[in-house]
Subunit: 234 residues, 2 copies
């Protein structure tokens, strides 16, 4: 069954697709009157609907069933990562993290960041495509580039971690994680966080963690963190 | 320090770079007499060497130190995966799996495979670049497209697993894995293995496993398996 992302859906029994989605539905997917489709609203709602008007500019869908909190996650994961110089690597991370499971991503501006700007709207489309492909009813939140200092100073209710490559005591997540909780993990640029950035994080309650013994690219480290959190909460 | 991949290195105290590598060394990297470089031989050897002749067509390196079994892995992982229609996705998997840790990859031809051919030489270059970037002294082995039936029937000394989406009993790797062992994991195409392919695998001693509750793309499932095996062996 074809799936549409419909964040503006309401309680109304009839939902109208946008002009763009209607054209896609009728001209490209070639759906017809009485065909059934699935809708996700990005807030946990998964719907099944029937086409009751196959107008190529304004498809009318009659909502048949609604499942709230579809496949709701049992923990909250926020990864703050320095955007990569090659934007495709960051896009790859967003797609894979969405498939595996993530709630929020913030792009952080660090001293050694290779990229200072990123088009959040375009990156958000990657995430939207990934939730449709992997049938996730919750749309991860993507926050635009934020200075590291600002993010570190913000309150966060949960466990806070920083992954870095400087010498020093670091724990495995398997040793320090509290399951079914909320987590914020900082992943630095290819050149790593500076000693001062690490010190600031530690002073703001971030625990230093290791993601294994391998030398990982930024986007690989970010995905490793995502994988570990999900795996330890299975 | 710059790193070169030199699989043809021997016990000889002087090693000569190929014409291509020499040109890269002198003209592109602009290295000079007395500069030090690192070499990896793909079989566990990590060397430090000094340039004793900076000839742009035949650089001579004097080997200074050699470390055998550099960062030797504590388990053996072979992932057999159906190549993806979009070859870039397979390339991403090869790069990330090499960063995280893998020993052998086989491309398998399944009934529902979206891609029946792949250029192994080009894919191997991705792996080589990844071992250089992530400082791995062992070069994972890549096997060309093999019919699934043939791979399933081959003897394999270790635990064998098949990840599939059909209904049925499946274990988490965390429950069934024996650490520090040898593992072969089958990852199917986007349309999954057929029931007969699964049955054949089970009859050949493959245990059915789950890689979590999310619907994963082929390359994501392959990397998830890679993550889990490495994580459980940490």
């Amino acid at each position: 069954m074809q799936l549409f992302y419909t964040p503006d859906i309401t309680d109304s029994p009839i939902y109208y697709l946008s002009e763009e989605e209607s054209k896609h539905c009728i001209r490209v997917l070639r759906l017809e009157l009485a065909d059934h489709v699935q809708l996700i609203d990005g807030r946990g709602g998964l719907y099944e609907a029937e086409i009751v008007d196959a107008h190529p500019k304004k498809v009318a869908l009659k909502l048949l069933t609604r499942e709230l909190e579809y496949a709701k996650r049992n923990h909250y994961l926020h990864i703050a990562v320095a955007p990569t110089k090659n934007i495709e690597r960051l896009e790859w991370f967003l797609e894979k993290a969405t498939e595996i499971g993530i709630d929020e991503i913030t792009l952080i501006n660090c001293q050694r960041s290779e990229r200072k700007e990123a088009k959040a709207e375009r990156l958000n489309k990657i995430i939207t495509a990934a939730i449709k492909q992997s049938l996730k009813a919750y749309h991860p939140k993507l926050n635009d580039i934020t200075p590291l200092q600002k993010l570190i100073a913000q309150p966060f209710d949960g466990q806070k971690f920083i992954a870095h490559c400087e010498p020093g005591d670091k724990q495995d997540l398997s040793k320090t994680l509290k399951p079914n909780s909320r987590y914020l993990i900082l992943i630095g640029p290819e050149g790593d966080f500076t000693p001062k950035e690490i010190e600031d994080a530690l002073q703001n309650g971030f625990e230093p963690i290791t993601l294994g013994n391998s030398r990982l690219r930024t986007e690989t480290a970010a995905l490793e963190a995502c994988f570990e959190i999900n795996f330890l909460n299975r």
